[in-house]
Every structure is written in C-alpha cells, then in structure tokens.
C-alpha cells in the first residue's frame, strides 16, 4: 500500500516535470529565433545605417546597399490589399453575424473558416492565372489582390465574432426604437463592436504584411526600382528575404538577416499592442 502511494506520487512528480520541460520546449524556439535574428540583424542595420532602409539592393558580393524598394512595396501591397479586402470582409462578416441561422449565413461562416486555413500558395497561383497571365506581367495589383484574398477571412471572422459578442439587449433596444435593420447594424452594433473589428483589421494587416507565398508569382519582386506603377512588378520584404536566402552570396545573406529583423519589428509593433490590449478586455 505504502509502496503504491509512493509510486503514484513519483509518477505525479515525473509528470509535472515533463510537462514543464515540454512547455519550455514549445516556446524556446521563439526566443532562439528572436535572439538569432537580433544577433545577425543588428550589426547589419548599424553597418547599413539609413541607407539600408532607403537604398536599393547591392550587387552580389558588393556591400549591403539597401532594401528600400521592398519596404515601399510592402507598404503599397498592404495598403492596396486592405483597400480591396476590407469592405468585402466586413460586409461578409456582418452577414454571417446577422443571419447566423440562415443557410447562407452558416455556409458563409464555414467557408470563411476554411479559407483562413487555406494554403496561401494556392491563392497566389490562382491570382497568377487570373490576373498575371492576361496582363502579361507581374504587377502590384496582382500581389495586392492575392493578399486581399488571404486577409479577407481573418477580418470577416473577427467582425462576425465581435458582432455576436454584443449582448442581445443592445440589439433589442435599438430595434425597439423602430430603427431599420441597416441602421441597427451600422449606427449601433458596429459602433459597439468597433474594437473587435479593428482588432480583426490589424490582425489581417499584420498577417499579410509578412506573407510570402501569395506574392511569389503575383508581385514578382523588385529590388532596384521603388515603384513603377500598379501594373508593374513590386517588391516586398518577405519576398526579398526568400530570394536572398537562396543566393550563394554572403552579403545577400547579411541583407536577408537585416530585412528579417526589420520584418520582425514591423510584425511585433503591429501584433503586440493588439494582443496585449485584448488581455485587458478579457480580464
């Protein structure tokens, strides 16, 4: 009897120890990644200075130059993708929230969740077939369209959930004033769900600013020209990193590390405030 209790307590200790170790193993890579990127990236940013942010790509084996075109491209692509994707996403999200029991409403919700997990390379290939082939060239607009499709389900699902989380009494109160459904939604509910919807918008933006796969065959990439028009190829930071990592030149690898540091900073600057403010809301 004593022996079996001791065994049980030993098992408990072993169990606690192992899940603690596995928990550390889960988050350890994040710190290793951040550490590696800072160790490799900070010297590049210091050595490159302002020129690294504004200049154009150096020739192979010849210094750092800059990643200006990729930075400009990422901002243009993200902005255009938001312009295209957000209206569709928000209205679709409102539909799913307003008609949750209708066939289309339910199907929409399911479709959005499927699209959230959909391989993004397939979106890129699709847009290539639809836009790039007829136009005959990679273009900023094709890249933006691709990113808009990737962004859309995130924003729509967040909008839907933000609206669903409003206590029913607000909706009932608004209807009892004799407002039409459109007014109830746009004047009352969207106002109340503003924070949730904004969260979705920012998450969507943070997501697509770091996307690579949907841009591979749509944006085309540009590292020496800043911006040449919507119908011309454009660069993006993730795309540049992907291309540079595959090159054999040491200076290109350095640039890739510097660009990764910058991308990580952009992502954290967008993501951390949202994530931390959510905690406030929850608690």
């Amino acid at each position: 009897m004593q022996g079996s209790l001791r065994l049980r307590l030993f098992k408990e200790k072993l169990f606690l120890l192992s899940i603690a170790v596995l928990t550390i193993a889960t988050v350890l890579p994040l710190f290793h990644i951040m550490f590696s990127i800072m160790i490799q990236g900070i010297p590049v940013l210091i050595k490159g200075g302002w020129g690294f942010l504004t200049g154009t790509l150096a020739p192979p084996g010849g210094g750092l130059g800059g990643i200006g075109p990729a930075i400009v491209g990422t901002f243009i692509l993200t902005f255009l993708a938001s312009l295209i994707g957000l209206p569709v996403a928000i209205f679709t999200g409102i539909y799913a929230a307003e008609y949750p029991n209708s066939l289309i409403g339910r199907a929409t919700k399911t479709l959005l969740m499927v699209m959230m997990e959909f391989p993004t390379i397939l979106v890129g290939l699709f847009v290539m077939d639809l836009v790039v082939l007829p136009m005959g060239s990679y273009s900023a607009i094709a890249g933006a369209l691709s990113l808009a499709i990737v962004m859309m389900p995130y924003v729509a699902v967040y909008t839907d959930e933000a609206l669903r989380n409003i206590p029913p009494k607000y909706r009932e109160g608004a209807f009892s004033l004799g407002l039409t459904r459109a007014k109830v939604v746009f004047r009352v509910l969207v106002g109340l769900a503003k924070k949730g919807i904004m969260t979705g918008v920012l998450i969507g933006i943070a997501k697509v600013a770091g996307e690579t796969a949907p841009l591979l065959f749509t944006a085309g990439g540009a590292s020496r020209v800043y911006f040449d028009g919507l119908n011309r190829p454009v660069g993006a930071i993730p795309l540049l990193i992907y291309n540079l990592v595959q090159q054999p030149y040491t200076n290109y690898h350095e640039i890739a590390w510097g660009a990764s540091l910058l991308l990580m900073i952009i992502f954290l600057a967008l993501f951390l405030p949202i994530r931390l403010s959510l905690k406030e809301v929850k608690l």
């Binding site: 899940i19 603690a20 990644i33 539909y95 799913a96 391989p119 459904r181 690579t212």
Partner: protein
C-alpha cells in the same frame, strides 16, 4: 407589416452580393485549378499522381511529370510535424492552464500567440541558417553514425536539408496553433470535474489524465488543423527540405513537398508545354487535401462545441 419585411430584405440584399462574391471567388478558384489541370490529365491521365518522374523537354511528346514524390514529402513532413506538435501542444495547454505559476501564465500564452502569427519567412531564414546546422550536427550525424542500419536513419546527411528538418520546423510552427485550440477546450472543462476528481484522492497526474481524455475531440481537431497548416506551408519548408525528387523512408533524405515544388518550378514552367498544367494538378491535390482536413477539423470542433 409588409413594409417592415421589405426593409429587412433591402439590408439583406445589400449584404448578400458580398457573401456571394466570396463564394464565387472560391468556386472560381476550384474551377481555375480544374481547368488548368486538364491538359496534363489529357496528356498522361492520373499518372501525374502515381509516378515519380520529372521530365521536362522541348518536345511536348517527351514531357512527362509525376508529382508522387511531392505528395509523399508533403504527407511525410506534415505527419512529422503533427507527431512533434502532439506532446508539445497538450503539455503546453495543460501546464499553462493548471500548473504554471500565475506570473508566467500570461507571458507564455502571449509567446505562443506571437509564434502562431510570426511571418513564416522568419521561420524559414532561421530554419535554413540556424536549425538545419544544429539538427545535422547533433541529431543526424550521430544517429547516422551509430544507427544507420535502421531504414529511418539510413541516408547519409550530406547537407542537412531533409524531411526531418522540414518536419521539425513545421512542428515548431504549428504547435502554438494546435495548442491554442486544445487550450480553449481544456479551459472550458467545468471546474466541478476537477473538484470531483481530486475529492477521490487522485494525484495531479491522474486528474490530468482523466481531464485530457475529456477533450479528445478537440485534440483530434487541433492536430488535424495543424496538419492542414503544415501541408500548406510553402516558403519555410522550401528553404529546408532540399528540393529533390525523391521518395525515401529515411528522415535525413532531401525531398519535395507539393507547395515547395510549385514555389520552385513555377518560375521556369512556362517554357514547357505541360509543366504549368502539371503544377496546377499538383496544386489541385493540395487543394483537396487541405479542404478535406480543414473541413473535418472544423466539423469536429463544431460538433464538440455543440455537445458541451
């Protein structure tokens, strides 16, 4: 009365086009993949999925493509990722909900949320320049040196770019995602269960074992969705998998995945008559695998959510 109904409908009909647009987009995507795959099906039938050949040629009659190696690699690396994610994500969820000191609970969750959202190219550059050398030096080389008679370890790790590297990197990437789903389910278990179990004199190990059994559907769903995410991942994988047409049981052999095949070959595919179509056919298979896995995962989650 009638007018009121009319009001409701105008709003619905204003929103409806946006919904239909999304459905139309998805349907169009499927249609594009089907129609773009037709030439290769006419050229060689289903052999595109059942053979491992990649013969590009100026002469269209000599062209022949089989993407079996890529499908194999996709499934192999994603299974590895899920095997890694399984113990990690469950342990993390249990530890963070029940046992972590209050002070580090929230930081741990924030850390995994950052991991789930981190641009995948960042995993890619870290994987290619940091993870692969570590795995080669500390895992592949010793295992090959001592245990190469086991088929799993039988391939000499020359570069380190391999199924194992891709599987480990994917495992790291999808664990936070799977863990978030498991965590939510574990958190929502009624507190009464815990009280009841502990009142019977169970140890914490025994209690957790019973509680984890309760959320089995969420674990299955979380891992399915993690599998779906792993199989669709492109750039991080393509930087560490080695990009070689290869079907090998060995963990240390380089290979291809469907998405890395597309990323790698599409650039020069237009020179040939059938290669673009072959790559779309490969994409079509990824389309269906991704769709099936994700729908299944979502359905399980939904049924589970209703059941509670």
């Amino acid at each position: 009365m009638k007018r009121e109904v009319g009001h409701i409908d105008t709003f619905k009909y204003f929103l409806l086009p946006f919904c239909l647009f999304v459905f139309g987009l998805f349907a169009l995507m499927l249609a594009v993949y089907f129609s773009a795959s037709i030439p290769i099906f006419q050229h060689e039938g289903l052999k595109i999925y059942t053979t491992n050949v990649w013969r590009a040629s100026e002469n269209p009659n000599k062209e022949f493509y089989g993407v079996l190696a890529a499908i194999y690699g996709s499934v192999y690396t994603s299974v590895l990722a899920v095997l890694i994610a399984l113990p990690l994500s469950i342990s993390f969820a249990v530890f963070v909900i029940d046992y972590a000191p209050k002070k580090i609970k929230e930081p741990l969750i924030v850390a995994t949320d950052v991991m789930a959202g981190l641009p995948t190219i960042i995993y890619g550059i870290w994987g290619a320049f940091v993870l692969v050398p570590i795995l080669k030096k500390y895992v592949m080389d010793p295992l090959y040196a001592h245990l190469s008679f086991i088929p799993l370890f039988s391939f000499k790790p020359v570069t380190g770019y391999s199924y194992l590297s891709a599987g480990v990197l994917l495992g790291i990437m999808v664990t936070p995602f799977a863990s978030a789903i498991i965590r939510e389910a574990y958190r929502s278990l009624p507190f009464m269960y815990r009280e009841a179990i502990y009142s019977l004199g169970a140890t914490r190990y025994e209690a957790t074992k019973i509680l984890v059994k309760e959320i089995k559907p969420a674990i299955v769903a979380g891992l399915l969705l993690a599998f779906g995410r792993a199989i669709g991942e492109t750039v991080a994988v393509s930087l560490v998998i080695g990009n070689t047409f290869n079907i090998s049981p060995s963990l240390f052999a380089p290979g291809y995945t469907i998405s890395s095949l597309i990323a790698n070959q599409f650039g020069n595919a237009f020179i040939y008559k059938y290669m673009v179509s072959a790559l779309f056919a490969a994409g079509l298979s990824l389309f269906f695998i991704g769709l099936a896995v994700n729908i299944l995962g979502i359905l399980i989650l939904r049924r589970y959510g209703h059941a509670r």
